[in-house]
């Protein structure tokens, strides 16, 4: 049955997507694309449009809460969560609503939102291993897996129902029927057969904001590819005039200064591929982020040679993302586009600011490679 709400809902979606009513777009509360990131959970703000009204300035108002704590202690509820506790009335437009989702779900949402096609597997060999996960409750099982709380609850229920429970002497004795056990499911997990090689320019002209963009972008690429390949490895290369391989944290938080020789990174990338990831067994995804300011045209030509002869034949796709910085000339992307206009495996994308990340992800991943 189609719901009456569908109309209103699709209208809302269209406003959020900017298809209609552009004047409302400035009221949309954007959180950051990713909020906090626990082990396997991220929180995604649901877009919300606030209708402006005469209202009180939030921070001056404060409110009343209930619970423990001394004067000066912080009140529960994080930054950005501005609905004061206990605010009476259900008033839309108070705070950014966040939901926690697992990475799998997130990738699914991402895929739906951006209409990303599933990646066509190149049919490369896959090795699978199995893993057990505890997912449910059963009435039978080994004692070592007994679920104490559930068992206790069942026993308590039974005793109250049969009238043998006395609050004065609250002793609960489970009988075999009360017992509950954890049960598990066996999942097949393929061994990694895809690798992402991230390369980033860390020369002086890349500022914190540019890195933030790269961080967010790479998070989404990771998330998407993880949902497509059950196992995924990531490698990280930073470069200025020379390139080196680093771990994830260093990748995002290093800041160097100096010139830029992009070819150094491509050489290292090629070396990694050749040594570890034979092209007929692996799906390979190099991504390179830079502000597009290369040292010289000569070096650019070296890069082009490397790409054309060595790298592109081995990889599924090569992504080049160019972030805008006040210092860079942004020439590199123009060169690439000019020289590789027919090459489908090379995808280029310009990322002006944080809002452009979404479009850029679509450019990178929208081809189903």
């Amino acid at each position: 049955m189609s719901l009456r709400i569908d109309q209103d809902h699709s209208r809302f979606r269209n406003i959020v997507r900017g298809k209609i009513r552009q004047n409302l777009r400035r009221y949309i509360s954007h959180g950051e694309l990713i909020g906090r990131k626990g082990k396997d959970v991220v929180s995604v703000p649901i877009p919300q449009i606030d209708i402006p009204r005469f209202r009180f300035a939030d921070r001056q108002q404060g409110g009343v809460g209930q619970g423990d704590g001394d004067i000066g202690d912080p009140v529960g509820g994080q930054e950005g969560d501005r609905s004061g506790p206990g605010r009476a009335g259900k008033d839309p437009g108070e705070h950014i609503l966040e939901v926690d989702v697992t990475l799998d779900e997130l990738a699914q949402i991402l895929g739906e939102e951006l209409e990303l096609p599933d990646i066509e597997d190149k049919g490369k060999s896959k090795i699978a291993s199995t893993k057990d996960r505890y997912t449910g409750i059963r009435r039978v099982g080994p004692e070592s897996l007994r679920h104490f709380k559930r068992t206790y609850r069942e026993a308590l229920k039974r005793m109250i129902a049969s009238g043998t429970f006395s609050p004065e002497r609250p002793v609960v004795v489970p009988i075999p029927d009360d017992k509950r056990y954890r049960s598990w499911k066996t999942d097949v997990e393929p061994v990694a057969n895809a690798v992402i090689i991230y390369m980033m320019d860390v020369s002086g002209s890349m500022g914190d904001e540019q890195k933030e963009i790269v961080r967010i972008e790479s998070f989404w690429i990771d998330t998407w590819l993880k949902s497509q390949y059950k196992g995924l490895e990531s490698r990280y290369i930073i470069h200025d005039a020379v390139a080196r391989e680093v771990d994830r944290d260093t990748f995002f938080y290093t800041r160097e200064s100096g010139g830029t020789m992009i070819s150094s990174a491509y050489k290292l990338c090629l070396k990694i591929i050749e040594e570890n990831y034979p092209a007929d067994e692996w799906n390979i995804y190099p991504f390179h982020f830079s502000d597009g300011d290369n040292w010289s045209m000569d070096d650019t030509l070296t890069c082009v040679e490397l790409l054309k002869q060595k790298i592109l034949p081995k990889v599924n796709m090569f992504g080049y993302g160019q972030v805008e910085s006040p210092y860079g000339s942004g020439q590199f992307i123009k060169d690439l586009r000019e020289l590789f206009s027919k090459e489908e495996k090379l995808v280029t994308s310009e990322i002006r600011d944080k809002d452009a990340i979404v479009t850029s992800i679509k450019e990178f991943l929208g081809k189903g490679k």
């Binding site: 005469f54 009180f56 009343v64 509820g77």
Partner: protein, 518 residues
């Protein structure tokens, strides 16, 4: 309502439970409208909840937004709506398909108490559709059976808006609705009970003393001839007329004022009227959130534990009940606050802990063991549920002991640490803050001050500043909406950072200037 099409009627075993619960409720003295329960699947539930409980509203994107948030929260397992009940006669309430019988019983008991509250609390009399003129909030009415067919009324609004959309196009109409919604909170909660304005008996028609030119008696008819005097009188009258402010008194129902005086097209007036009517409909619920939920929680636990639950259900019931009343992360839960206050009142009146003697008693020891065995508690809470709203409820019945026992605190934003911090546990501070939050349903007081500001037909509003500034960017956006309705520049007088400020929007640009506050 298309309940037949939705197959939402109650199965017979729940129907039996409804009868049983209503019987128990009546036995306790609850007095409610007939309640129609319907069973919905979760997406029907989310849809109806998004529409504020009504199966049929006018089309608007914000309902779609609500729906998205509700259904995403449900899908991600964050929250689900157990129940929903709407203030109407008969009342409609919705149960979620797939809940356990224990849960359904709990919800039904909760709902019945809500409906009792709708019927008996004075604030809700403002939603009687057959009330004419001034609504008397306290008069007892025999066999009270008001017309509150709000389902029909809202559906009718939906039809009207749909017809307007057909004629003028969704874009145009929706934009206008958005503008009206920007002003939705500018209504006067006291208006339904105020009755018609009693014109102040000012000496409007008092004889106008026309100043005469000085003259000797015998010369007077020549120096001040009759037609000269007449002309002077007319001039003075005109000047007086001009001086008369419009509106004469500051007008708090900004929507009504615009409805009566803004240059609107007919369809625009129609929409503004719909928005205003619905704003008044939802107002009592905002004014009595704590009481209403408290009352319903009080009764669901009474009804459930005294005759409706069987022993095997106690654990599940207690689990759900604890969930409803839980407080976590320092949040104030209106259910919890309300039910505890009602119980507190009941205990005080049972033990006679009120009145002069009690208040003048200084001995803590005596107060602790104070029990006059009056047994007036039940009677008192019924009286409270009829005659109070959240503001008066908290004002009168929140005691320092209660505040302490329930660990209430007030919090505020700390600029230094960039976070909200606990400010105080002092009774006075906590109570003040709570009352401020509840007053005018948390909205600033805004009045129409002058509709011919500076004699240019501009609209002047005044924000009655009570210590907290307006949110400046939103205030500017709201002015924008006002200008589109008023069609002339609009200003609002307020205070920012202790300085009197006049914000003005003339249709092209925003300006602000300082002015002296008296």
């Amino acid at each position: 309502m298309s309940d037949a099409a939705l197959k939402t009627h109650l199965p017979s075993y729940l129907r039996e439970w409804q009868n049983r619960i209503e019987e128990v409720a009546r036995g306790h003295g609850l007095d409610f409208f007939p309640v129609v329960f319907e069973i919905l699947t979760y997406d029907q539930m989310n849809e109806i909840a998004a529409y504020g409980g009504f199966p049929n509203r006018y089309p608007h994107w914000r309902f779609g937004m609500e729906y998205e948030q509700l259904s995403k929260s449900y899908e991600y397992g964050l929250s689900k709506i157990y129940e929903m009940v709407i203030n109407s006669n008969p009342s409609y309430a919705y149960l979620l398909e797939g809940n356990s019988v224990t849960e359904q019983k709990l919800v039904m008991a909760h709902v019945i108490a809500h409906v009792d509250f709708f019927k008996n609390n004075f604030a809700f009399r403002a939603t009687d559709l057959d009330a004419s003129g001034r609504v008397d909030p306290v008069r007892k009415i025999e066999n009270y059976d008001p017309n509150r067919k709000w389902i029909d009324k809202m559906a009718n609004h939906g039809q009207r808006v749909r017809r307007i959309i057909e004629r003028h196009g969704i874009q145009k109409v929706e934009e206008f609705i958005d503008e009206c919604l920007s002003l939705e909170n500018l209504i006067d909660p006291h208006l339904p009970f105020a009755g018609p304005h009693v014109a102040e008996v000012e000496d409007e028609h008092a004889a106008i003393e026309v100043p005469r030119l000085r003259s000797k008696d015998y010369m007077d008819p020549f120096i001040n001839p009759e037609d000269y005097l007449e002309e002077q009188r007319r001039k003075i009258e005109e000047a007086r007329e001009r001086q008369k402010r419009f509106p004469e008194r500051p007008e708090r129902d900004v929507l009504l004022f615009l409805l009566n005086h803004a240059p609107l097209e007919r369809w625009e007036r129609d929409i503004l009227e719909i928005i205003r009517t619905e704003a008044y409909y939802f107002l009592p619920q905002m004014q009595t959130k704590i009481m209403n939920e408290g009352w319903a929680s009080y009764w669901h636990s009474k009804i459930m534990t005294e005759g409706v639950l069987d022993a095997s259900e106690i654990i599940d019931y207690a689990d759900r009940n604890a969930g409803v009343l839980a407080t976590s992360g320092g949040r104030l839960n209106p259910y919890k606050l309300g039910v505890e206050l009602f119980r507190h009142i009941e205990e005080r009146w049972d033990k006679g802990q009120f009145g002069r003697e009690w208040e003048e008693c200084d001995s803590l020891e005596m107060k602790r063991h104070w029990d006059m065995r009056l047994g007036l508690g039940r009677k008192k809470i019924f009286e409270v549920r009829a005659l109070y709203n959240d503001v008066t409820f908290i004002d009168e019945f929140l005691t320092p002991e209660f505040c302490h026992e329930h660990k209430l605190f007030s919090f505020g934003w700390s600029n230094r640490n960039e976070r909200y911090e606990i400010e105080s546990r002092e009774f006075k501070q906590v109570k003040d803050k709570l009352l401020f939050q509840l007053t005018n349903a948390g909205n600033p007081f805004i009045y129409v001050e002058d509709a011919n500001f500076e004699n240019r037909g501009e609209l002047l509003l005044r924000h009655e500043h009570q210590g907290i500034d307006l949110r400046a960017d939103w205030a500017r956006e709201t002015l924008r909406a006002l200008v589109r309705i008023w069609k002339r520049p609009v200003s609002v007088q307020t205070i920012f950072d202790g300085k009197g400020t006049m914000l003005r929007y003339d249709g092209r640009e925003h300006t602000s200037r300082l002015f002296k506050t008296s």
